[in-house]
């Protein structure tokens, strides 16, 4: 029973990370109809930047802020330099470009920082809280992770729902040509969408790095778990991504705890296939458009 509680708790904090990265995937999918397979590699680069800053003796918080800022810039540049050129091509081309970026960034990180993973500090203690006489698998740092992700999700939700920028972002994503005819600078909205996504991704990377370590391919599993979470949530809905992320976090935590960590990716694959076979629009499928 204690194990079950422990697994549930660690599932929630891991799930928060998957949720954040899934949110990044959903933001980009909504903006440009592209699944950014380079998302994991992009947050790997920004986390390396943060790690380098910390190693150079800078405070953790500065490193965190710089990582997020670097993510914003990185996302915007990626859209401007690469994605814009394949936006009108068949979708398979965009997928291949993000895969190329994934491969290139992992190689680049290996070149600059070597293939040996390095440690990254946590913001708060990673020792679990003591409840009664037992230590649970939930630490002050887990609290921090869950709160930060929840805050970011709420902030993004408010941005999309209540601000003019959010309205323009949504309009550009749903109907680019109509949005243009209403004066929305659609290209700029796409750039902002990519920047926001990569910023959220960078934050998630820095939050998860204390437990995964920072290495060129260390964030590959995060990408596939986040993709599974995003698909579970329908790939379209930010709320779906959050719920999907926590759900995946829980399932993977139980599978790792009871059956071994090596089977976690297989469990993700099974969930992915089940979702796509049974409910391809995700568990939060929006209502169908009325045909007129």
């Amino acid at each position: 029973m204690t194990q079950f509680i422990d697994l549930t708790l660690s599932g929630i904090s891991n799930g928060a990370i998957y949720a954040a990265v899934a949110l990044a995937l959903v933001l980009i999918w909504r903006a440009t109809r592209i699944v950014n397979f380079a998302q994991g590699a992009m947050l790997m680069i920004t986390t390396y930047i943060a790690a380098a800053l910390v190693e150079a003796g800078n405070p953790y918080w500065l490193a965190l802020v710089v990582a997020v800022a670097a993510g914003l810039v990185f996302g915007a540049l990626t859209e401007l330099v690469l994605i814009r050129r394949v936006e009108s091509a068949p979708p398979i081309n965009a997928v291949i470009v993000t895969l190329g970026l994934l491969v290139f960034l992992e190689a680049l990180a290996g070149m600059i920082w070597s293939d040996t993973p390095r440690a990254f500090p946590a913001a708060f203690s990673i020792q679990g809280y003591e409840v009664g006489h037992t230590r649970i698998l939930f630490s002050p740092n887990s609290t921090f992770i869950v709160c930060v992700v929840a805050l970011v999700a709420l902030a993004l939700g408010a941005l999309f729902r209540y601000t003019s920028l959010g309205l323009k972002l949504r309009a550009a994503a749903f109907a680019p040509e109509v949005a243009r005819l209403l004066g929305v600078r659609v290209g700029r909205m796409f750039t902002i969408g990519w920047a926001l996504a990569a910023g959220v991704g960078a934050l998630a990377g820095a939050l998860v790095a204390p437990s995964t370590f920072v290495g060129p391919s260390n964030f590959d599993p995060i990408l596939i778990f986040a993709f599974t979470a995003a698909v579970l949530g329908g790939l379209e809905s930010p709320l779906g991504a959050i719920v999907g992320g926590v759900l995946i976090g829980l399932v993977l935590s139980y599978v790792s705890g009871y059956e071994g960590e090596a089977l976690a990716p297989l469990a993700a694959l099974a969930m992915l296939l089940l979702t796509l076979m049974l409910r391809p629009t995700g568990i939060f499928a929006a209502s169908r458009e009325r045909r007129v």
Binding site: S164, L167, K168, R170, A171, F174, A175, E177, V178, A179, R180, L181, L182, G183, V184, R185, A286, S287, E289, R290, V292
Partner: protein, 233 residues
């Protein structure tokens, strides 16, 4: 006043517009008629900046906008309501309208009440997604949204498409009223010549990118052969 002079547009080797000229004065409705493929939609796309013309000139209130970007043209007060009632189905009715206000750089809520006055059905459904609207309501919404931008010129592409005759008459009546009240230059593209002519001050007939007739609706109505040949009357 919207002026178009000798506009030429090409898709690859195909010339979709071949020297089209027209003038649409503020407070008047100019109907553009023609069969499928006559170049009507291309004309609108070229005016609103979606399609770069090969040659020719477009001006709004004396200011040349031929080379301007779509976004800039919108800010100058030229609104294009595309065919298929381009409402954004995923956004709510109110959000669609707010988007229209943003087009002229206004604060978001401004003028939304006036639109609800004009189109009462929209008020009732303001927080529902536009996807749930009927065809007529969608047309109201897309026109209302353009009005939110306080346009000087309004391009309407086939507003009657797929609507019941009664609703078409209603919409056409509203367009006429708005045009006069708000001194808007309306360019109305239609295949439904009868209803377009009923509210137009001037009518153009396009055929394969050429203007084959440019006269008043009364004159046009008398030319049975022309109407028959180009519009299938």
């Amino acid at each position: 006043m919207l002026e178009v002079q000798d506009l030429v547009c090409e898709y690859g080797a195909i010339r979709a517009l071949d020297g089209v000229s027209l003038q649409a004065a503020a407070g008047s409705v100019t109907a553009v008629l023609g069969a499928n493929g006559a170049g009507k939609t291309t004309l609108l796309r070229a005016i609103s900046g979606l399609k770069r013309p090969r040659a020719g000139r477009v001006a709004l209130d004396g200011r040349e906008i031929t080379a301007a970007g779509v976004e800039e043209i919108v800010r100058l007060g030229l609104l294009h309501v595309p065919e298929g009632r381009g409402v954004i189905a995923e956004l709510t009715v109110a959000e669609n309208l707010r988007l229209g206000a943003l087009a002229r750089g206004a604060r978001r809520g401004d003028g939304i009440e006036a639109i609800y006055e004009l189109f009462p059905p929209l008020r009732a459904r303001r927080s529902e997604p536009a996807a749930s609207l009927s065809g007529g309501e969608r047309q109201m919404l897309s026109i209302g949204r353009a009005l939110m931008a306080a346009p000087k010129a309004l391009l309407l592409d086939e507003p009657s498409l797929g609507l019941a005759p009664l609703i078409v008459a209603q919409i056409m009546g509203l367009v006429r009223e708005l045009c006069e009240e708000r001194r808007i230059a309306v360019l109305l593209v239609e295949q439904n010549a009868r209803s377009a002519l009923s509210i137009a001050d001037h009518a153009l007939v396009l055929d394969l990118g050429h203007v084959v007739a440019s006269e008043t609706p009364e004159q046009l109505a008398r030319e049975h052969e022309l109407l028959h040949a180009y519009l299938g009357y």
